[in-house]
């Protein structure tokens, strides 16, 4: 295709995930951006553009949050832009950065994603209430969990998936998270299916241990053109494919059992990466898992499993770190935490580290040449996909 530049990921940084951070959002951005620059061996002055991703202003309680965070992200006195597609934002931030460089406008771009959810009182849930239609939905007393519970139940019933199987996602990811140095205190752990099933029913079928937590954190990556990458590293990790797609916000007019928008986003990314058989050609996947069932639901949308077959792969151990298709080796949102935009970027960073063999205790057993990070967002609406390769 007619892109001016091939784009590589050169470095990544990630702050500790915290339920309540003392750092301000700007300070979190600085910490992540500084670590990403250090890992790339570059300085802020080398960055020709900066992109920022962060979810609704209502969490931080700062209006025009993109502008507010700019200094911490290094995004002042240079081209700077915020993108936002709900939960899909973190992965989209890399797509956003990618077209800055791929277009030929810039040789370097710093990508930062931040979320500080803890200031929102009485609970960040209260801000989520306002994503629903103010006329036809909010008067019913909605909360965020409803839409997930409704989708999860639909998915379970169409494919006859037992709750025990879905609990296995929590067990796997919470165990994987034990090896992540940034994991939020109290989130990863050794759990049994029974522990998950016995946890509090929040909005059935969603139990407490099937939901990712509220988190403060920031993440950053450095994207560069091929010219710069070849000068700076022997181990470039290329952005081979990007895809994004949005469905209608009339979510009660669609069948929620299958995320078509994720499929279209994945097909777009696969086409660009010249992938014809994703099950063979994708070696590991950081699939978006804000809720346990979402990992399975999204694997199907990503064409990594047939419809209704993702639970079988999970049960057979295929998606474990030592399996044929490791899924969420980082621990994901269920095992590390869920600072919305930063969580998506954490997934891209994990694929980067895995492909460079730098994931330490989290390194998957099989050799990996190509990996995928995906996020989802809005009213069961948006899919964002990035394929990285070496």
């Amino acid at each position: 295709m007619g892109y001016k530049n091939r784009v590589a990921v050169l470095g990544a940084g990630l702050t500790k995930f915290m339920r309540r951070a003392q750092e301000t959002g700007k300070e979190l951005c600085f910490e992540a951006a500084r670590m990403a620059l250090d890992s790339a061996g570059l300085e802020l002055k080398d960055m020709e553009a900066v992109v920022m991703s962060t979810a609704p202003d209502a969490f931080d309680g700062v209006h025009m949050k993109g502008e507010y965070l700019a200094d911490g992200a290094g995004g002042f006195r240079r081209p700077y832009m915020r993108s936002y597609v709900g939960g899909g934002s973190g992965v989209f931030s890399v797509i956003h950065g990618w077209y800055h460089v791929a277009s030929g406008h810039f040789d370097t771009c710093l990508v930062v994603a931040e979320e500080k959810m803890s200031p929102c009182m009485p609970h960040p849930q209260a801000a989520f209430n306002a994503i629903y239609d103010q006329f036809t939905e909010r008067p019913l007393g909605v909360n965020l969990l409803w839409i997930f519970a409704l989708e999860m139940n639909r998915y379970m019933q169409v494919h006859k998936i037992p709750l025990e199987t879905i609990s296995l996602v929590s067990v796997k990811n919470k165990k994987n998270g034990l090896d992540h140095p940034c994991a939020q205190a109290g989130i990863p752990g050794e759990y049994t299916v029974k522990d998950i099933m016995d946890s509090e029913v929040l909005v059935w079928p969603v139990h407490r241990l099937m939901v990712s937590p509220v988190t403060d954190a920031a993440a950053a990556v450095v994207l560069v053109s091929e010219r710069v990458a070849k000068r700076m590293t022997d181990k470039p990790v290329w952005v081979e494919g990007v895809g994004w797609h949005l469905d209608s916000s009339y979510w009660t007019n669609r069948d929620l059992y299958y995320p078509k928008y994720v499929e279209y986003a994945a097909r777009m990314a696969y086409r660009m990466a010249v992938i014809t058989d994703p099950r063979k050609e994708i070696h590991l996947a950081e699939v978006y898992d804000p809720f346990a069932y979402k990992e399975l639901h999204h694997m199907e949308g990503l064409l990594l499993a047939d419809k209704g077959e993702a639970p079988r792969l999970l049960e057979k151990g295929v998606t474990q770190r030592d399996g044929d298709l490791p899924v969420c080796p980082s621990g994901g949102l269920m095992g590390v935490g869920n600072p919305i935009a930063a969580a998506g970027l954490m997934k891209v960073a994990e694929v980067f580290w895995q492909l460079r063999g730098e994931a330490g205790a989290r390194q998957v057993s099989r050799p990996v040449k190509r990996g995928l990070a995906q996020a989802w967002g809005d009213l069961m609406q948006v899919g964002t996909v990035v394929v990285l390769g070496v």
């Binding site: 339920r19 036809t136 007393g141 639909r154």
Partner: protein, 176 residues
Amino acid sequence: MSHHLKEFPGVPLKDSDIQEGKVLTTRWEVKAEYAWDTGVALGEFFAGLKDGRILARQCDRCGRIVVPPRMFCEWCHRPNDRWVEVKDTGRVNTFSVSFVLWDASRVKVPSVPAVIEIDGCTPGVGFMHLLGNVGTTLEEILARVKIGMPVKAVWRPASERTGAITDIVHFVPREG
């Protein structure tokens, strides 16, 4: 892994750190109140609910009949064509059982949110509402509610209706 992670270990706080004043905080109450115009489609829809009728919109190009109504067909991307009164019965497309309120506080007796596919609309099309008369405990509710189950609207008495989605109290099981 990030080489310099140890430089910024993060400063996680406990709720007690704030309550006991170990760290300084500042508080801000957003004063953001809104008055949203319902617009043409939902204005008509709510007027219909006040009269005890559910109104949908139909597009002549694709034939779809949809609720909640809008004055455009998002698929054909053109103005849609007419109002259609649909039934106040339908089927449960999916449901859940909620023990959590909007502010994350808990309740003992759960509500039962559901997506109801409305009879008379294009198959698969509906809106979110609540189910009633299906029990007060999780066990009772799971024993009584099934996906695909036929339901009908229970209307507030005409004198109490305000032209709102809550003019329908909830949907209850019906013989189907």
